[in-house]
């Protein structure tokens, strides 16, 4: 009697144990999506900030649903992106950021512009977007270290689009200073970074003008490098900033 019980118990354990070994054999995501968001006017990648306030890539996986929940990939600061843990599948890909939206709808919800791209993501997929930034900000010469220990930077900004629907008032322009190269509206040293606010349409006359901004807060502490960047934005939607690339100034 006991023997039978033991036999049954052993069988049950063996069965239970072997059933545990069943593998969930769907492969871990390993496909790569890479590419850039490029300013159509200059051919360069469009500078942005890292994190929630910067460019992000929007993926709609349409292989199984025509109304999927979007999946977002944050862009890097220089406007490129690289994501290596995607599942294979058919995706409709677009981007959001400080540029004329790639997908636009009219008041009735009908899509009027759709520059999103559809790809079967497998292996390494490269996608580039050509966009019109709201503002195109360009350095004019290198930032200079002044005799009083501050730094001045000269730049100008122009409209990146001719479409008046996307030429809202310019609300503020800022010289961001930071002690590391990751720099933007969400990461800067507020002791030295200078901000110019425009009310109403006052900022619009600055388009195309040379603007010089000097750091505030007195002389910058010496013997180190500073990273500088200019950002400006318009009163459109979520008010993303457009940026220049990052310049380095060494204070001896």
């Amino acid at each position: 009697m006991k023997k039978i019980l033991y036999t049954i118990a052993v069988c049950a354990i063996a069965l239970a144990g072997s059933s545990c070994s069943k593998l969930d054999d769907y492969d871990a995501p390993s496909e790569t999506l890479t590419g850039s968001v490029i300013d159509a006017g200059t051919g360069k990648t469009l500078q942005t900030e890292i994190g929630g306030g910067g460019t992000r890539i929007k993926l709609l996986e349409i292989s199984w649903s025509d109304n999927p929940t979007p999946f977002y990939i944050s862009s890097m600061q220089d406007g490129t992106f690289n994501y290596t843990k995607l599942f294979p599948g058919k995706n409709k890909i677009s981007a959001e950021g400080a540029f004329v939206p790639l997908v636009q709808t009219d008041a009735s919800g009908a899509t009027t512009v759709d520059k999103s791209q559809t790809f079967d993501i497998k292996g390494t997929t490269t996608v580039n977007f050509s966009v019109d930034p709201f503002l195109r900000i360009e350095w004019q010469g290198e930032p200079v270290l002044n005799a009083d220990g501050t730094i001045s930077a000269t730049f100008k900004f122009t409209r990146g689009t001719d479409d008046p629907n996307f030429q809202q008032d310019i609300t503020d322009v800022r010289l961001f200073v930071n002690s590391n190269k990751f720099i933007g509206n969400n990461n800067f040293d507020d002791r030295y970074s200078t901000q110019i606010n425009y009310s109403g349409s006052d900022g619009n006359v600055q388009v195309g003008q040379l603007i010089t901004i000097t750091t505030k807060g007195g002389p910058l502490p010496a013997s180190r490098e500073y990273f500088l960047r200019v950002g400006a934005r318009t009163n459109y939607g979520l008010k993303y900033y457009n940026y220049t690339d990052v310049k380095t100034v060494t204070v001896p």
Binding site: S65, P68, A110
Partner: protein, 637 residues
């Protein structure tokens, strides 16, 4: 034979027990027929709905959501009204404490009431039934308003959704447009206004409360139509974020008309008010928050110790009146806020004047600077040295020991965010202080009893402490968490007047001239100002900027958890909080002069506030998005 007996016994046992009727309703569950067929049951049903109404009262903070006792990152510390040691920067409501799910439970309960009350209407008069239906509509509208002001358009559910159902797709309700939600709120409140009684129990709505809420909701809708820049349209053409600007006039008119309905039904509280008597005007403004019979209270939520409590006094009393739980001074009004008021010396740019010719002005007492302060300011904010609970509230940053010959120059260059120099200044890092010996041999603590301490933040870190809502005669032994039970005034007539003034100004601004709207706004603002003891506007022509009305709103409704929503609907907060440092006022005692001087500077902690533009539409909780493929997220999240 034995077998037969057993069979018979079995048979009888089964047969007789089957006689007992088993199909009876569960007797441990209160059912519709117990609740909805008598007035007491309906009252109990309503009590629960009201208790769950999503209003930001004493038990709300953006960090911990609605109906939570621990309020140490207070709402006013996110708007520039105040600084708090536990609030380190701008924030939006914590998405994990979102009221989304609870709101839909409440909407379901309101819908359920509307659909089922008719089955028992034979027990009541028609007027009773209509009034209750109106009340349920009011609750539904107030709940939808709590949702729409956060998220924009939300799924519109106007009936009880049955689950389980053969058609699960019918539960998958997409977001309606923001406009549709506001219109739905207006319709519900109109129904409530038409069907409810003129009066109701305290804490419950009547027809004028419905009108008051309508003026609030429609003002929000009008502001969004006029000032919003964010658009999100779903595939079906519903604009879930944003309202067409053409609708601004419609909504502002609705707000104005609704506000007018309360005229002569409620009034500004002036029981103790006397013309020209600042002390009486001050006392009157303090009392208005505690007089249960105040005719200014439109809609309130009552508390009662020990069943229903909050801890407002414990968290917010000045440091020197701290209770046994060890909390105090969580809400410290900023200098920016104090400068909005009249009656304090000011520079040409509107900032407080503390220097003359580059040297500090000296005062014998800290209150001398505020000798002519607007009574409403004193009733809202405890100024350094002012009286509270029979004590002078001592707020002092430190003792200046430097020479005073020829006057004292500012301690720091204008606009500096640096720390104060430590030579010539004696200060305390916490409440256990070492007295400093003054030149005349007497001793004095470096900091006041209520701060400011440099080490811990348990003090009036801005130089001010909040007074509004604090019970003036509560003994310190009762200044405890969960021991306060003063009434929350969710809507008072002053707000309705301000809604009316703002709507009228906007209508005038949009070219509407079917009434003299500007004159109306001018009269409303001056009524508020007169009661407050503030300077009156000379004429309607002086009302030439919307900011005059917006500032009045901040002054009147400060610390009442309304300003955040106002700043959002005006779409001004992203400019106002753009790497912003709020300002503070630091009183120092000059040992050689035996007098006080004040230094106005930016927050010593250098905490900057930046509003993320995405926050104009809050993030919908991801858990809700996962439940429904049709629910689309707000922009940027």
């Amino acid at each position: 034979m034995k077998k037969t007996i057993y069979i018979l016994i079995c048979f009888f046992v089964c047969w007789t027990s089957a006689c007992r009727k088993m199909d009876i309703p569960p007797i441990n569950i209160i059912q519709d027929k117990d609740v909805l067929n008598n007035a007491g049951g309906v009252q109990a049903y309503m009590a629960r709905l009201y208790s769950q109404l999503p209003i930001e009262d004493f038990r709300y903070s953006p960090q911990r959501g609605l109906n939570f006792f621990w309020i140490i990152s207070p709402f006013p510390a996110g708007t520039g009204e105040a600084l708090s040691r536990d609030q380190r920067g701008a924030m939006q409501e914590n998405v994990d404490e979102s009221p989304w799910a609870e709101s839909y439970s409440l909407i379901r309960d309101a819908n359920y009431f509307m659909e089922n009350l008719s089955k028992y209407s034979g027990n009541f008069t028609e007027a009773q039934v209509n009034s209750w239906l109106g009340e349920a509509r009011f609750i539904r509208a107030a709940t939808y308003f709590a949702l729409v002001k956060r998220y924009g358009g939300v799924p519109l559910v106007d009936k009880v959704l049955e689950y389980p159902t053969p058609d699960p797709e019918s539960l998958n309700v997409p977001r309606a447009s923001e406009e549709a939600i506001y219109d739905f709120i207006a319709t519900d409140l109109d129904f409530a206004y038409q069907n409810m009684d003129e009066s109701n129990q305290v804490g419950r709505a009547n027809k004028y409360v419905a009108a008051g809420f309508k003026s609030r909701a429609m003002l929000y809708a009008g502001s969004i139509a006029k000032y919003n820049n964010i658009t999100l349209v779903d595939a079906a053409g519903n604009r879930v974020c944003g309202i067409p600007s053409a609708k601004a006039v419609t909504y502002f008119k609705a707000a104005y008309d609704a506000a007018v309905l309360l005229e002569n039904k409620y009034s500004l509280y002036k029981n103790g008010w006397k013309a020209g008597d600042k002390a009486a005007q001050y006392q009157n403004f303090v009392d208005l928050f505690f007089d249960k019979g105040s005719n200014e209270n439109v809609f309130v939520r009552q508390y009662h110790y020990p069943e229903s409590v909050h801890g407002y006094d414990a968290y917010n009393v000045p440091r020197q009146l701290m209770g046994a739980n060890g909390y105090s001074s969580e809400v410290n009004p900023t200098l920016d806020y104090v400068e909005l008021f009249d009656g304090i010396p000011k520079n040409a740019d509107g900032t407080i004047k503390t220097t003359t010719g580059g040297k500090y002005d000296l005062y014998t007492n800290t209150m001398d600077l505020f000798a002519n302060a607007e009574p409403r300011l004193r009733a809202t904010v405890i100024l350094p040295g002012d009286q509270f609970k029979g004590q002078g509230i001592e707020i002092r940053r430190g003792i200046y020991t430097g020479s005073s010959a020829g006057g004292i120059s500012p301690l720091l260059p204008a606009g500096s965010t640096a720390n104060y120099p430590t030579n010539n200044i004696v200060q305390s890092s916490n409440a256990s202080q070492t007295p400093y010996t003054l030149p005349d041999g007497s001793t004095m603590n470096p900091a006041g009893l209520s701060g400011i301490f440099t080490g811990d933040g348990t003090a009036a870190i801005s130089g001010f402490s909040v007074r509004k809502w604090l019970v003036p005669d509560k003994p310190t032994s009762e200044v405890l968490e969960n021991r306060s039970d003063q009434t929350w005034i969710e809507m008072r007539y002053a707000e309705v007047l301000l809604n009316r003034a703002e709507a009228a100004y906007e209508l005038n601004d949009l070219g509407q001239n079917d009434k003299n709207y500007l004159q109306d706004a001018f009269t409303d603002i001056n009524q508020i100002r007169e009661r407050a003891g503030a300077d009156l506007l000379a004429s309607a022509a002086n009302l030439n900027n919307i900011d005059i009305i917006r500032k009045e709103r901040r002054k009147e409704l400060g610390f009442e958890n309304k300003i955040w929503w106002d700043m959002r609907r005006w779409r001004t907060v992203d400019k106002e909080q753009n790497s912003t440092l709020y300002r503070v006022l630091m009183p120092f005692y000059s040992a050689n002069d035996k007098k006080y001087f004040f230094d106005a500077r930016t927050d010593e902690r250098n905490i900057r506030y930046t509003f993320d533009v995405r926050w104009y539409y809050e993030q919908i909780p991801n858990g809700e998005i996962q439940k429904s493929q049709k629910l689309i997220q707000n922009p940027g999240y």
